[in-house]
Subunit: 253 residues, 2 copies
DNA sequence: CGCTCGCGTTGCGTATTTTGCAACGCGGGT
DNA sequence: ACCCGCGTTGCAAAATACGCAACGCGAGCG
């Protein structure tokens, strides 16, 4: 167990909240300031951390570099980007791309709404496994046994009144998603925001990513949201074809 | 000296190049695979690393999250973003935003050209201190003694035929930049690409960032490049005013 | 101008962790 | 069925990390 490494990572997490001094970090981490100092020096030397004008430590530019390279290593993002940019252009609404990585669903691309609305999601953050539409799409393609295992291990945090609250409810919804080929988030993930998501498949037909359109409920009714579905599916199917997927069925809402 | 932490960071640097297996990483790092395995497990637990479908390790999504937060902590970027987006829209050329951090110049925003050209620069990478226009702008505002210290410590790598190759040449050019209020990169930083940069100031008048326009020499002559200067300066001055800067002089090319 | 305080830094000995070794376990291929 | 590649594990030794106590410096105050 790499305690020293874990401590350094914890320091980065503290600095992710806001820049801090040596003493502040030492206090937060319950670690002697000498120890914190040495870890920060190593992080500073490698550009993970930098000192601002007031001698506070803050996250360094190496993180931009690594992040940029990590995103570039995700081919799905490169292939999907122009399609989703167009979808965002046509609809004017927030568009996300998410993948299943390390037992979590992570947003790896995002296009902001043309309207003055902003959402909590951001590239790099994880999406709730039991409430986000992209999560349902990604889970729906998994074998039932794996779904059950994941569903059993979730903490069904009630984010809104509509949030699913049991493994049974989630599994039932996943079955419906698998059949209909898309998922919705009925303001389960973010209050006052609903969205729809559709799967992106690779040459083998496996779901490798999900894309979604999200809209505040005051801007668009549920019926209006569903009218975006053909457009969304056209984009996700175009991306899937670029990945070698061959459509065997006629799709419709 | 945090050897374990440094090793972990080196592993991340290897994975930045491309995903790799345990044995590959062990070989590259000259560290026993047991040690690499433990470090990777810790990194995986904290989402700095994830395993792909072929059990290779790759950079994880936590880096996106930290990078996103680190960029948000840089207020200058948020203030400058809309202005530089407009500059990019008006000119159609590549636009960069760079700051001086930890004795280096780092790109913290970039807007791609509307033409089919791509450059090596990317958010998070450092710019050469002796050849990039943004670097000259940032260095030009420093006290002479600090300039001399930095100039003396540089490795004057000859990137192109036009690259400056001595501290004296660099300091002379910095003096010129300070007087004229902008800098150029005469294909010193990237062959066949020239650019101009201008300073962004804060309320105290200090240069806190630099913005640049970069164009391939085949697309625009040097004279044509200089014609972009009023537009660039209009943007950097607007950003400076947003930061509280008060202009005391009439500016012109 | 001198003193005090806050905060980053340093030397060092001890405690703790890290490390590599040797072997194991598992899955895939022959 | 066997072998090989590769990830994993237990353990003892080696090496580092750690915290302590004090230092040094700059800023602020009297």
């Amino acid at each position: 167990m790499s305690q020293s490494l874990i401590r350094a990572i914890d320091l980065l997490a503290e600095l992710a909240a806001k820049p801090a001094t040596l003493d502040e970090l030492s206090s937060k981490a319950s670690v002697h300031k000498t120890t914190v100092m040495r870890l920060l020096h190593a992080l500073e030397e490698k550009r993970f951390v930098v000192r601002d004008d007031e001698q506070r430590f803050m996250l360094g530019s190496k993180l931009f570099e690594l992040s940029s390279l990590a995103l570039e290593q995700r081919d799905i993002r490169k292939v999907a980007h122009p399609h989703l940019a167009e979808l965002n252009g046509r609809t004017g609404h927030t568009v996300h791309l998410a993948v299943f990585e390390g037992n979590e669903v992570v947003y790896i691309d995002k296009f902001e709404s043309h309207h003055p609305v902003r959402m909590y999601s951001r590239i790099g953050l994880t999406a709730s496994l039991h409430s986000a539409a992209v999560s349902k799409v990604l889970l729906a393609d998994m074998p039932r046994s794996r779904q059950e295992k994941i569903a059993a291990g979730l903490d069904y945090v009630k984010v809104t009144d509509n949030t699913l609250t049991s493994p049974e409810a989630l599994l039932a919804e996943l079955e419906q998603v698998r059949i209909q080929g898309w998922a919705h988030d009925n303001a389960e993930h973010e209050a006052f925001v609903h969205c729809i998501a559709a799967p992106i498949r690779d040459a083998s037909g496996a779901v490798v990513a999900a894309a979604s359109c999200s809209v505040p409920v005051v801007m668009l009714s549920y019926e209006g949201l569903l009218e975006l579905l053909p457009d969304l599916k056209a984009s996700t199917e175009a991306i899937s074809r670029d990945l070698g997927w061959i459509s065997h069925e006629r799709n419709s809402a």
